[in-house]
């Protein structure tokens, strides 16, 4: 036997705990309660890290010896570009979870991630073109990364369009989930093909696995900004999910109770 009795017991216990949490978080009501407790923390943390990162990056971090002060837009551009891609991944993961386990919350998470992801992608494109103007001399070039980010934006828009075109909520949830998963299979191919086609963009100088190609005074505030953007994303995502839960569950007992409590508090 590969496992001893104790190890196997531990394994089953672990699986059991994971599933318990999975189901607990998957239930709209308990997610609403847990996220309600977490939300202020996330909000404060996002606000703090973004403020610290912005002030540090824009005012105190050193200039680039070649690009001068113009490179400071990096502190907005890099985090939004990274987040744009991960938000599609997160959205598609939610879609896969919904298709496999039919967890209602995953559907809500998918629907709520799409508009945030699309806006972040727009931000990445806009900051990129502001950076491109002084560096490359034009607002827009048909470069690999710009193009694949643009395609990413269209993928987000496609998910949102399909969502709004279908009236039946159950069907539209599953259809958008299928689309998001198909998109995520396609995303690496799109990135590869576009890169092959045309590349002018400076290569990534910031990744998880390698040592950054810049001094610590630059990458530490950048890292703070990246973390801040993720926190911001999760905060907004949670807020949207909470609102969507309330709307969808507006006929259930607990939502009615919650509303009547709030109303009586206000009065």
């Amino acid at each position: 036997m590969p496992y001893s009795g104790k190890l196997r017991a531990l394994y089953y216990l672990g699986i059991h705990t994971v599933w318990k949490w999975f189901h607990l978080l998957g239930a709209p009501k308990s997610f609403f309660e847990i996220s309600g407790k977490l939300l202020p923390w996330f909000g404060v943390a996002a606000g703090l890290t973004i403020t610290v990162g912005i002030v540090w990056g824009l005012a105190f971090a050193p200039q680039d010896y070649q690009q001068g002060n113009a490179m400071r837009i990096m502190y907005m551009h890099v985090p939004s570009s990274i987040l744009a891609q991960s938000s599609y991944m997160l959205m598609a993961t939610a879609g896969a979870v919904f298709l496999i386990w039919r967890i209602k919350l995953a559907d809500i998470a998918l629907q709520c991630a799409a508009p945030i992801g699309a806006s972040i992608t727009v931000l990445a494109l806009a900051t990129g073109s502001v950076w491109g103007k002084p560096m490359w001399g034009t607002w827009w070039v048909w470069d690999a990364r710009l193009t694949s980010t643009l395609v990413l934006l269209f993928l987000f828009i496609g998910v949102m369009a399909l969502r709004s075109a279908m009236e039946n909520r159950e069907a539209s949830g599953r259809a958008t989930a299928v689309l998001a998963v198909v998109g995520v299979i396609n995303l690496p191919i799109i990135k590869f093909s576009v890169e092959w086609w045309n590349t002018l963009h400076q290569s990534s100088s910031f990744s998880l696995t390698e040592k950054p190609a810049m001094p610590a005074e630059m990458w530490v505030p950048l890292l703070v900004m990246v973390i801040g953007f993720y926190l911001f994303f999760f905060t907004v995502w949670m807020m949207r999910i909470r609102i969507e839960i309330l709307q969808r569950e507006n006929r259930t007992e607990w939502v009615r109770q919650l509303v009547s409590e709030k109303v009586s508090d206000a009065v």
């Binding site: 269209f154 496609g158 689309l179 093909s193």
Partner: protein, 220 residues
């Protein structure tokens, strides 16, 4: 089963030839608009020809996509297919193959003529045929996903384009660069291999995703 679906669908389309012919005429028309709109000079045409042919092929495929499930959905036979004992993926694959025979293959056969009209040289014409031959099946496969997800929606047409065009980007890039390489007399084996790889991947994924999409659309 697969062959029977193909036979049935081919027969049905042959009885309504307009559904097939219109996208083909559309393809020719779009290609003809570019020399008129931009410039009839051979130099300009040679540079834009790969992109023009491919973009026109994408649009023509999308245009014919909507009819893939429409009539079967309207008369309820799609529902019967979905609940029948036969493997649904085979039925879907049959429909996709029929779609390619009726919309992709005519484009491939027509493309050398249009390539000549766009002043491409001989090796480039070869490239056009090869790239469309390898690429148009992928267009049908990916397009079917969009068609499946939008079965029964009133405004399906534009929506399919919005959903599927981004997914066509790799095929478009590989197809046009193949023709460009061929025009310069270069070796385009790598492009062919990549187009083939994408075709193999979509042949594996698209029927499943399409089947899931059709089932979702039928469920409401």
């Amino acid at each position: 089963m697969l062959l029977m679906t193909i036979r049935r669908d081919l027969l049905l389309t042959f009885r309504h030839p307009a559904d097939v012919l219109n996208p083909v005429f559309f393809f020719i028309l779009v290609v003809a608009l570019f020399p008129i709109g931009i410039s009839p000079s051979a130099e300009v045409l040679q540079t834009i020809a790969p992109g023009v042919l491919w973009v026109a092929a994408l649009l023509a495929t999308l245009l014919s996509m909507e009819v893939m499930f429409r009539s079967d959905n309207d008369d309820g036979s799609l529902e019967q297919m979905a609940v029948s004992m036969q493997p649904f993926i085979l039925l879907i694959s049959g429909k996709i193959i029929t779609h390619w025979i009726m919309s992709g293959l005519p484009l491939v056969l027509l493309s050398p003529v249009l390539a000549v009209m766009l002043a491409l040289n001989e090796s480039a014409i070869q490239g056009v045929v090869i790239s469309l031959m390898l690429g148009t099946p992928t267009l049908s496969l990916l397009g079917a996903i969009g068609a499946g997800l939008t079965v029964g929606l009133k405004k399906g047409g534009v929506l399919i384009a919005l959903l599927i065009l981004p997914l066509y980007v790799p095929v478009l890039i590989l197809g046009t660069t193949l023709i460009q390489t061929a025009a310069l007399g270069g070796d385009y084996t790598a492009h062919m291999l990549w187009l083939g790889a994408i075709l193999a991947l979509s042949a594996g994924v698209a029927p499943i995703a399409t089947g899931a999409g059709v089932r979702i659309s039928l469920s409401h």
